[in-house]
Amino acid sequence: MNAMTIEAQTAVNGRSGQTMREVPQSGVQIADYDHRQTVGEITVDNPKMSCREVNVYYGAKQALKQVSLDIGINEVIAFIGPSGCGKSTFLRCLNRMNDTIPSCRITGHIQLDEDNIYDKSIDVVQLRARVGMVFQKPNPFPKSIYENVAYGPRIHGMVNNKAELDELVFASLERAGLIKEVENRMGEPGTSLSGGQQQRLCIARAIAVNPEVILMDEPCSALDPIATAKIEELIDELRENYTIVIVTHSMQQAARVSQRTAYFHLGDLIEVGETDQIFTNPRHKLTEDYITGRFG
């Protein structure tokens, strides 16, 4: 883990004069519940996205406090934490889905490659094409399976003809591991599939646009264990080509699929680190309490 200095980070971001966060040294167990500074490495060598001091307010209520975190290329990072801790809120900041909530206000800095995604020059349409999202509840459109997957390519004008579109749709379904199940029923409505299939359809829909990052908001919470296993398998495969951010309630799932894990608590990013380390050797008392099941 080659830690990047804060100075370098700010320099790259072209910002200066920001207050810096002190990163506690590794191996130190922090027993202080009131200690709200992020423990662990927030930075990575090869960041796909980097977020700095992100605050989110819903009206007067602050839902996310000073969160800074890097997301590396082609890694799976899991956000865990008790309900209402801000992990989904943070996730939705990453492709500006929070824009659809009128009362929501965001400060801070989130960078996707070299672009500040909250910059005026950034088009939210383009951003979301680059940062796809899969939701908690499978939400296929009330259209055929084919049309569901073809939706993204169509609106973005990614293909020139029907043959290309067919190819793309089939490829996407294949990558989502769904092709065998739906090959012969492409015209049926997406809602006719089972829950797990629907969710994989939604993933296929997301990857059809060929995004750089895929955000997954508790993608398995509405599914049974078998379907969950399939999705997890899929995530593992997708990791080769995509950066995946997954919010999950299930610590086992986080442990299974992710390389890094971030633990959120009441709007704070408490601890972030290698998944193994978080689960075997949490450095913050809150993290430890959570993963040992003392609360949450």
Partner: protein, 440 residues
Amino acid sequence: MNNKPVSPSTGSEPPSRDIKTIVNAGLKRRHAAERRFRWYGLIAISLGLAFVVLMFANIISKGYPAFWQTYIELPIVFDPAVIDPDGQHDPKALENADYAALVRTSLRQLFPQVEGRHNLRALYGLISSNAPFTLRAQILANPALIGTHQSVWVLASAPVDTFVKGNISRDLDEAHRPIKDQEITWIDQLTTDGRLKQRFNTILFNHGDSREPEQAGIRGALMGSLYTLLVTFLLSFPIGVATAVYLEEFAPKNPWTDLIEVNINNLAAVPSIVFGLLGLAVFINFFGLPRSAPLVGGLVLSLMTLPVIIIAGRAALTSVPPSIREAALGMGASKLQMVGHHVLPLAMPGMLTGSIIGMARALGESAPLLMIGMVAFIVDVPRSLFDPATVLPVQIYLWADLPERAFVERTSAAIMVLLGFMILMNGLAIILRKRFERRW
């Protein structure tokens, strides 16, 4: 350390296209489409609102003069020789005396130069035919006035009123306007003498219908509407709420309740005129209820309003989450207690809102009432549910059909009053909805 963009498609597998460029290529076109679409929406809604404004402007510009009424001051001599020749102050004699003669005398005094039967008739025509009754009322209230000189403000006739308000142009050819040149000179003289004034038109609000525009009011129609709506509300609200509660909370799912449901939904969209046919056949011909009575009108309208209230009531009931019902039942409440203590109070604002909207619709309805004899000339203000009555929209329909020009502005004024009530009721419904709106 490097923050260079790393294309996700460095891998061998996914189709090698850079999503950023692809999206960028179409962005301009798509945003233009977005803006266009937004404009369509804005145009649509502006059109809708423009219609509202247009209608209101049209009606108000026609109707506002009706709130003013021209009066003429006459010096009246309550000549005992004319009205009380016996000197007995006998109320009966006073009632039947010739008060019109007093008015005529007064007018002749004001315009001594006018001569000839025809011209005199025109002169008398300046004053409303109601003037003698004004004098009679004064004398009957206070017989001591007999023999005195009084200045009395009496109603001007409708053509004079219309002319004074500028609705008849002076520039027109004399043959083509209801007010002739000599009448204009009289009016001008009265105006310069300060004997002609416009006052707020109280008659419009506290008189019944009349054939003379200047004496016509909407009190009778308003009371008729009130009685009709009273019946409508008393019948349709309790029955509507009871039905909604039954269907939503108690009814078993079976063909019978399905039938009721289909029925109600269908009745909500049955043309109102069909309800008129029903009222004529059932209430008047079969039950022998009196024609033109607010009772019958109310019955017909309540049948019409009932489905609206039931549907609104059911919507309000379904919006109460099942968890509340389960909570109540879980505490050991009976179904009725569950409904009465929890569900109904929570659904009541919604039900009231629906009822008010239904009532507003009933207030503006006229087609079914045409079928049950509520299209009638009724002067007396109805005092009970059985007195013949008409309602405001029908009054508008009737006035619009009259030849007198001055009724045009009164029709519009009546429309304004009706719209006022409509807006009031709808506003109330909106406030109710806002105030008690609950998101579950």
